[in-house]
Amino acid sequence: MTEFVAPTVDWAALSPVVIVLLAAVVGVLVEAFVPARARRTVQLTLAVAALAGAVIAVAALWNGVEASGGTVVLGGSLLVDGPTLVLQATIALLALVSLLIIADRTETGEDAFAPNAAAVPGSDYEELARRKGVQQTEIYPLVLFATGGMLIFPATGDLLTLFVALEVLSLPLYLLTGMARRRRLLSQEASMKYFLLGAFSSALLLFGIALVYGYSGSLRYSEISEATQVPGGMDGLLLVGSVLILSGLLFKVGAVPFHTWTPDVYQGAPTPITGFMAACTKAAAFGALLRVVYTMLPGMAWDLGVLLWTVAILTMVVGTVAALVQTDMKRVLGYSSIAHAGFILTGIIALNEAGIVAVLFYLLVYGAATVGAFGIVWLVRERAGRPDDPEGNGPVLGEATHLSQWAGLGRTHPLLALTFALFLLSFAGIPLTAGFAGKFSVFSAAVEGGAWPLALIGVLASSVAVFFYVRIIVLMFFTEPAGAQDEGTGPSSLAPSAEGFALGGDSAVAVEAEPVVQARSTVSTTVVGTEGLAVVAIAVCALVTIVLGVFPSPVLDLIASVATFLA
């Protein structure tokens, strides 16, 4: 046996990850030692500082990596190269923006999270916690842990680290998903579903890792890649192993047929978390997928091509078609995120440098629009009317997610609706928005890489997708607001919410949990004011969407200058 040699650690190269994870640990201590009153302020400051620090750390590393092509850290477990830095910057920035939305308590003074997640929904104990204004500040360290895992995920150089990073990013997300303040049973069900399916896919991934290890005798991507060049007698092992690994990763990006969790989880999770999850997890998981496909399995391109093509086509088609028939805003966005996963996959299948640039760019622009869009969904609320005064200003309830409740928003809140329309147009890929630049770059990379049928299907799927994005715009701008008619619309707007609850199984309890059940028949739609944080976040997202739509060049050049994987 050789003696154990401690690896030399290049702390500087690790700094983005270390800062975030360290801050998360400190955050846990804050929970224990800082008085409740000051906790939120301290946690928020800490989290913002950590994520901003991560961005700065990436910037500081940039020139060195651009010159050297990247460094191998921790004996090859982590690879700090160009794509790593781009993805880490993207994830940290998007997480920072999401954090502002997560932290915003709106003018109601209530954030998106259950005052006491351990309390049984509808119990007196929960009501007591709500009245006392208890707040769950643990969300900040949880978000930081998840972000830390995401920062590691695309940087991994071996399969074991990949698995660990996956778990570090997933576990906090399972928890966060179950902590919604409203519709708690739906949220808890989503969390359970996410956890079970996630655990299942982790198991697949782990099994795949074991098989590939059995084939190649190594966990390092570079060594596995070498092993695949030499024909051995155990190709079946490699094939099954790599398919299982890809399945695990495709689950995280929400590609068909591993997508079934996506709409439910997106719908059930607290909306700010949905935005965070949709943008950042996708960036991290696609980053990891990109690295695995480009550096570990290039020798397998021929064998795995069929699989990836099928998945990409299915993902685009199923995501688009299913989104057409949704009636819940969060589910529409959920299915649209599936379709987008398909578009990004076409960039990965391109297997060329243009593909890397395109995918990295797409993740940034898609993330910005997603965080912004979910931020707005979070602000559009139901407001209960009082029995004596249906139009009165009763308490603000949960998000008004049924599409019909968005009717006429363009008339009552033009700026908000316009911003939302901007994000939708970006999703749809209309020129002069960032989404178009992103779609164009992945499709042209795909055509260049010989995958033109995928590009064609992608374009057709996009044109179908336009329909449901535009339908929402029509609803916001060209339809009379439901409230402008009469009370008769009350029951009809109730029906959809009830439908939403029905998904939560025995969710009558969740309805009971709301203190204003009796007034539900006169629910109207309103937009809550913010504490300012969410407005900043949404404005940043809108700005990114416009600027990257009109002048994508600087960012594209920046990404292209470092878009090579460290072998």
Binding site: V357, I430, V474
Partner: protein
């Protein structure tokens, strides 16, 4: 001749700034600002004409090329030849008239409303896109504008139109967007055949490529489909009547009179030069479709009960003539089509705007709701008649010159098509004169007795259009000087031998 001043950029930026300003100013000033900006734009356009060397109208002038997204090979490239310039001029002429015509629309009988302010802002935004699209010399830039234009129009129909406006707006958007996206695939495919690099999308870098015949045909079809939807041609014209019926008159004017020219303009300046072999291959089919459009549009126009739908169908017929001339590949017919685009813009604008005045007075678009108006509103009746006569190409009006050039030019190559299409002229006489008869002659109706005739503002809207039609009808020379050289250049690019039209047409079309 290259001018140091970026005329075309100025022409794009001015309305854009105007549109931005419209969001900032109070509603009360909206009319004045919008009119001022659009008149400034018109003046700028006229000055730009002086910077243009008419003797070299076949060349692209006032060219500006700047890198935009070098990573994709996309440049900001604008420049015009004679055809582009004359279409830009037509557009900047029509916009102030539309602004003036919208003066009292959107609930602003006395003071301008916020609603009107938004509408005018959209009009100015659209103007910027229109100028840019006629000037674009980069295929990708053209595509971006082609799609981006849809957004203001979509809102102009959907927010300000009639009862079925949402349906019309969505139908318009989906038709156009589908065509555009299919074109996008061809745009990318074409780029990959080209030289690539940071200027790979410049039109001049993509012209004259040696393409695989099948690929060329496919790309041609994708481009042509997008333009045929836009133009609109049979059988993909069905969005137009709905849009024109539901949109306010000013929107229809811009949509049909100006915006749809992008379709035929695209066929002329992109389809033919980029895919010459495929264009020759497809020409017979296109000519058949064009002839069908001419007759089908005219027949449906005769059967319409709604005034706006009627005008929309007449345009389908006229667009058939334009496409026919383009794909007949003679210098006479192509020049005629180019000129036709301008004349059709003027003629349709006049028809839609006057119809808009009538509809605003009557509160109905149904032809049956009018009757015997000749004596009540003589000015409106007279101007409508002149505009209508221009639609049926009466000699002495500019549309006659262009229609004649198209038919004569086409006759040299496809006599049968020319003969059949000339039936369209007869049908035009029916739909124009019969409509006039139903609306303006006959016994006076008591419920229409109180109708007021055109006011000063409305006369100012219509007068420039009618004046130009008469001027170009008798002196088409200056306009033809702008469109003839580009027609020859186009024929060279397509690689067909020009067929001389009979001597009489070259010299005597207007005499």
């Amino acid at each position: 001749m290259s001018s140091s001043f970026p005329w075309l950029t100025a022409l794009i930026v001015v309305p854009l700034l105007g549109a931005v300003a419209m969001w900032a100013i109070p509603a009360g000033r909206a009319r004045a600002v919008a009119l001022g900006v659009s008149l400034l734009e018109l003046a700028l356009g006229v000055v730009a004409l002086t910077a243009f060397d008419v003797a070299a109208a076949g060349e692209v002038q006032l060219l500006e090329v700047h890198g935009w997204i070098p990573a994709f090979g996309v440049s900001y490239a604008v420049g015009v030849d004679g055809v582009g310039l004359i279409l830009v001029l037509m557009s900047v002429l029509i916009v102030p008239l539309v602004v003036l015509a919208a003066w009292r629309e959107q609930g602003s009988l006395t003071v301008a409303t916020d609603q009107l302010r938004r509408y005018l802002a959209l009009v100015l935004l659209l103007e910027a896109f229109i100028v840019a699209v006629f000037a674009a010399r980069d295929v990708f830039f053209f595509y971006v504008l082609f799609e981006a234009m849809l957004i203001p129009v979509y809102f102009m129909i959907g927010l300000f139109g009639g009862a079925q406006r949402r349906y019309a707006a969505v139908k318009f958007l989906l038709y156009s967007l589908t065509g555009g996206l299919i074109m996008l695939v061809a745009v990318i495919a074409l780029y990959l055949q080209g030289p690539g690099g940071p200027q790979g999308f410049l039109t001049e870098n993509l012209t004259g490529l040696t393409l695989d015949p099948t690929a060329e045909k496919l790309m041609f079809c994708a481009f042509f489909l997008a333009f045929a939807i836009k133009a609109p041609m049979f059988p993909v014209h069905t969005w137009l009547p709905d849009a024109a019926q539901q949109a306010p008159a000013g929107t229809s004017t811009l949509l049909v009179g100006v915006l749809d020219k992008v379709g035929t303009f695209g066929m002329l300046t992109l389809c033919l030069p980029l895919f010459p072999n495929a264009s020759r291959w497809a020409a017979p089919v296109v000519i058949v479709l064009a002839v069908i459009s001419i007759l089908y549009g005219a027949l449906l126009a005769i059967g319409q009960k709604d005034l706006m739908r009627l005008i929309a169908y007449t345009s389908v017929s006229h667009f058939g003539f334009i496409v026919l001339g383009i794909f007949a590949f003679t210098s006479t017919s192509v020049a005629g089509s180019s000129f036709y685009m301008v004349n059709h813009g003027l003629s349709t604008a006049a028809l839609f705007l006057i119809a808009g005045f009538l509809v605003a007075r009557r509160g109905s678009q149904q032809i049956a709701d009018f009757g015997g108006l000749q004596k009540i509103v003589p000015v409106l009746a007279g101007t409508f008649l002149v505009a209508g006569l221009s639609a049926l190409s009466l000699p002495g009006l500019s549309t006659f010159v262009s229609e004649f050039l198209v038919i004569v030019g086409t006759f040299a190559r496809h006599p049968a098509a020319a003969v059949v299409s000339s039936l369209g002229v007869v049908l035009a006489a029916i739909y124009v004169l019969w409509t006039y008869q139903r609306m303006f002659t006959g016994p006076e109706r008591p419920e229409l007795a109180g109708m007021v005739d055109a006011g000063t503002r409305e006369r100012w809207v219509v007068a420039p259009l009618l004046a130009l039609m008469v001027v170009f009808g008798f002196v088409p020379g200056p306009a033809l000087d702008l469109v003839r050289p580009p027609a020859s250049v186009t024929l060279d690019q397509v690689g067909v031998q020009d067929l001389p039209a009979t001597a009489a047409t070259e010299e005597g079309s207007d005499r």
